[in-house]
C-alpha cells in the first residue's frame, strides 16, 4: 500500500511508494557531459565575465585577473537588476513591481573540473564563508527582503555552464516557498512553543532511520515527507534561524557534512544532476525562535509531470528510510 505523508512544516502531502521501492540503479541518470577545459570562469578569462564583485585568494591581486580561489560576479543574464526603484503599481486586478534585485554567480574554484566532492574542506569552507559574506553585504540594501543561495549542478538541474558555481538572488519580497515554511513553523510554534525543526531533529536522534550522516553540529537526513527520491536535508543540530551566524567552530562540520552528503549521492546515484538551496530566515526578522535554517539537496531523478503541477502533490518512488539506508551504507 502506498503511503501518504504530510510534511510537518508546510503541510504538503507526498505519496511514497512503499510497495516496490525504486532502487538507485532503476533511475535513468544522464551522464554528465565531458568537460571542456577552458571557459569564462577559468583563469585568464576574467574579462569575459562582468566585473567582479568580490574575490578570495592571494592578497594584492589585481581585480579581474588570475590568482583567486573563489570569485563572485554579477550574472551576465540577470533575472533581476540592481538599479532602480521598485515602482509598485497595479492595473485593475493585477499587481506588479520592477524586477529590482541582485543576481550573482559564485565561481567556486578556478579548477574547471573540481566539484564539491573533489575539493578539500578548506575550499568548501571558503565557499560557505562567501555565502555568508555576500548575504551580510546584500542585506544592507533595505529594498531586499530575501536572499536565496542555490546551486544547479548538471543539465537536468538547469545548469547551463559546467564550471562549478553557485548562485544568489536577492529579491524585494519573501518568496512563496519560504513563506510557506515560515507560516507552517510559526503555526507549530504557536501551538507547542517549540521549533518544529528542533522537534524533527530530536525525533531523528531517537529513531535514526532517516539519518544519512551526522557530526557534532550537523545532521544530514532524508525528510520524512521527501518530495523527491534521495532528497536530503542538512541542518544544524542547535537552533539557528539565520545562516549568517555560522562561526569558526561549526563551519568545519558544515563543510565536512556537505562534502560527505554530496559524495554519497554521487556514488549511489552515479553522479546525478542536483539542486541545492539554502533556506535561512527572511531579512526583516532574522533571529527567531520558530524558524531553523537548512540546506535542501534535491537530486534530479524523476520528471515533474501534470499531476505535480496541478496539485503541488509529489510522488516519490523511493521511501526516504530506504534512501537514507542506501546513502548511509555507501
Amino acid at each position: 500500500m502506498p503511503e501518504l505523508r504530510r510534511d510537518p512544516v508546510t503541510g504538503r502531502w507526498v505519496i511514497i511508494n512503499t510497495d516496490n521501492p525504486r532502487q538507485p540503479s532503476e533511475y535513468k541518470v544522464e551522464p554528465q557531459p565531458k568537460k571542456s577545459v577552458k571557459c569564462a570562469f577559468c583563469y585568464g578569462n576574467e574579462k569575459m565575465t562582468p566585473p567582479e564583485i568580490t574575490a578570495y585568494g592571494v592578497e594584492k591581486r589585481e581585480k579581474n585577473s588570475p590568482g583567486w580561489t573563489l570569485r563572485v560576479v554579477p550574472n551576465k543574464f540577470p533575472a533581476m537588476q540592481i538599479e532602480g526603484n521598485l515602482d509598485k503599481a497595479g492595473i485593475g486586478l493585477f499587481d506588479m513591481m520592477k524586477g529590482v534585485g541582485a543576481h550573482e554567480v559564485i565561481i567556486e574554484t578556478p579548477d574547471h573540473n573540481s566539484e564539491i566532492p573533489d575539493r578539500d574542506e578548506k575550499q568548501i569552507r571558503e565557499l560557505l564563508w562567501s555565502y555568508r559574506d555576500r548575504s551580510l553585504d546584500l542585506r544592507k540594501d533595505k529594498r531586499f527582503k530575501y536572499i536565496l543561495i542555490f546551486k544547479n549542478y548538471g543539465f537536468s538541474a538547469g545548469a547551463s555552464l559546467d564550471h562549478p558555481h553557485s548562485q544568489l538572488i536577492a529579491m524585494p519580497f519573501v518568496p512563496k516557498r519560504v513563506m510557506g515554511e515560515i507560516e507552517g513553523s510559526v503555526k507549530y510554534f504557536g501551538y507547542r512553543e517549540r521549533c518544529v525543526y528542533c522537534d524533527m531533529i530530536r525525533q531523528e536522534a531517537e529513531e535514526k532511520d532517516l539519518t544519512v550522516s551526522e557530526n557534532k553540529h550537523f545532521l544530514s537526513f532524508t525528510p520524512f515527507a521527501s518530495r523527491f527520491p534521495y532528497e536530503t536535508c542538512i541542518i544544524p543540530k542547535e537552533h539557528f534561524s539565520d545562516f549568517t551566524n555560522i562561526n569558526d567552530e561549526i563551519i568545519g562540520d558544515l563543510a565536512y557534512i556537505l562534502k560527505d552528503t554530496l559524495t554519497r549521492i554521487r556514488k549511489v546515484l552515479k553522479d546525478p544532476s542536483y539542486n541545492y538551496i539554502l533556506h535561512s530566515a527572511p531579512l526583516d526578522d532574522p533571529e527567531r525562535d520558530d524558524f531553523h535554517w537548512h540546506i535542501e539537496i534535491m537530486p534530479r531523478l524523476t520528471k515533474v509531470a501534470g499531476f505535480e503541477w496541478g496539485t503541488g502533490f509529489y510522488i516519490n518512488p523511493t521511501p526516504p528510510e530506504l534512501a537514507a539506508k542506501t546513502l548511509r551504507e555507501a
Binding site: 502506498p2 501518504l4 493585477f94 538551496i277 499531476f307 496541478g310
Partner: protein
C-alpha cells in the same frame, strides 16, 4: 528591466524577464525518446491493459473488446490504490495515512494518434463526457476529496511510452496544496469584494485584449498576467461555474472546439512541444464542519491550465516557488493569436 508580477488568485510572484525574451523559435523543443512498439491503447489490444472501468462504445459491443470510442482503464502502475482504509495516524511530529485513491488512464481515441488536437471536435467532446462521468462516479466514494484530470504529452512532460493520445485522472483522499491555495485565494477575494476573482479577471482581459489567445463560444483562452511558464495558457468558461461536471451538452462541444484550437496553435507555433494540461475544478463538497463550503459556488471558477514544457525548472524555482518566465505573456498571446493552423 525585468518585471515582477503577482498572480491575483494565489499571490504567487513571477519574474517576467523580458531581457531574456524568447520567441517561439528560440526554444529547443525536444520530445525525448519514447518506445512506440506494441501500443496497448490501440483498438484490438484491449487485453493488454487492465480491465476497463468505463467506455463509450457502440451498442452491442462487449467490455475489453473493440468497438469503443473512449476507454478508461486503471493505471498499470497506480500511485494510489482503491482498496483499503485510510488509517490516518501520527508518528511523533509526522502525520501519515494509507495511499488510498484512484489512478485511471483515459484513452482518448481507438486510433494510434498522438495529439489531442488532431482528433475531431466530436471525439474530444466524448473525452470531456468521459471526464464528467468518471468524476460523478468517483464522487460517490466518500473517502475521496479531489479528482485531478491531467495530461502529460511527450517524454519531457512525464509521459512514459507510446504516442497514443490519452489523459489521466488521480483521485486523492486529501485536497492538494495548490488547489487549496487557489480556493483560499478565490475565497479571500470573494469575502472582500463579493465577486468571483476569475470573473473579474475575464472582464479585465476582455477589455484589455492583449493577453487573449482565442475567444470561441462560451470560452476564452488567455495567457495569464503572471504566467509561470512561457506560452502558458488558461482556458476559462465565460459563464461563472465552480464545477466542471455541470456543463451543458452545448458547452461541452464549445469546450472541445476550444481545446482543439488552443492546443493546435501551441503545436504549430512551438513545433509540437511537450506539454501538460490540468483541470482545476471545485473539490467534492462534503461539509466537514458547518458552512465549510458556504460560498464556493460563487467564489470559485473552474478552468484548464496548459503548460508547454520549454524551460527547465532549476534550483531557484524549487527553493523559492518563484518562476522566471523569459516570454512576456502579451508576446506569447500575440504569437498565438497570429498562428493559423
Amino acid at each position: 528591466m525585468p518585471q515582477l508580477r503577482r498572480d491575483p488568485i494565489t499571490g504567487r510572484w513571477v519574474i517576467i524577464a523580458a531581457e531574456r525574451a524568447k520567441r517561439p523559435e528560440d526554444f529547443v523543443v525536444s520530445q525525448g525518446e519514447m518506445a512506440d512498439d506494441g501500443c496497448p491503447f490501440c483498438e484490438g489490444k484491449e487485453k493488454n491493459t487492465p480491465t476497463e472501468i468505463f467506455a463509450i462504445r457502440a451498442e452491442g459491443t462487449k467490455p475489453d473488446k473493440p468497438g469503443w470510442k473512449v476507454r478508461v482503464v486503471p493505471s498499470i502502475a497506480p500511485i494510489l490504490r482503491v482498496e483499503g482504509e485510510l488509517n490516518r495516524h501520527g508518528k511523533g511530529v509526522y502525520d501519515l495515512m494509507n495511499g488510498i485513491g484512484a489512478h485511471e488512464v483515459i484513452i482518448e481515441t481507438p486510433e494510434h494518434i498522438a495529439h489531442l488536437c488532431d482528433l475531431p471536435v466530436e471525439q474530444i467532446k466524448a473525452v470531456i463526457d468521459t471526464y464528467t462521468r468518471r468524476m460523478q462516479d468517483l464522487e460517490k466514494d466518500t473517502r475521496l476529496k479531489y479528482v485531478l484530470i491531467f495530461k502529460n504529452y511527450g517524454a519531457i512532460a512525464g509521459s512514459t511510452m507510446y504516442k497514443h493520445s490519452r489523459s489521466q485522472l488521480i483521485a486523492t483522499p486529501v485536497n492538494p496544496k495548490l488547489v487549496k491555495e487557489e480556493l483560499a485565494g478565490a475565497k479571500r477575494y470573494f469575502d472582500y469584494k463579493d465577486r468571483c476573482v476569475f470573473c473579474d479577471l475575464l472582464k479585465q482581459e476582455m477589455d484589455a485584449q492583449d493577453r487573449i489567445i482565442l475567444e470561441m463560444g462560451g470560452f476564452i483562452a488567455v495567457a495569464p498576467f503572471a504566467s509561470r511558464f512561457p506560452f502558458e495558457a488558461w482556458i476559462l468558461p465565460k459563464a461563472h461555474s465552480c464545477d466542471f461536471t455541470r456543463m451543458s451538452e452545448a458547452e461541452k462541444t464549445d469546450l472541445a472546439g476550444m481545446l482543439k484550437h488552443t492546443l493546435a496553435k501551441l503545436k504549430k507555433a512551438l513545433g509540437d512541444p511537450p506539454y501538460n494540461f490540468i483541470f482545476h475544478t471545485a473539490p467534492f463538497r462534503r461539509a466537514k464542519t458547518a458552512g465549510s463550503w458556504k460560498t464556493i459556488e460563487e467564489d470559485y471558477h473552474w478552468h484548464i491550465e496548459i503548460i508547454p514544457r520549454l524551460t527547465r525548472v532549476a534550483g531557484f524555482e524549487w527553493g523559492s516557488g518563484v518562476y522566471i518566465n523569459p516570454t512576456p505573456p502579451e508576446e506569447a498571446a500575440k504569437y498565438l493569436r497570429a498562428t493559423d493552423f
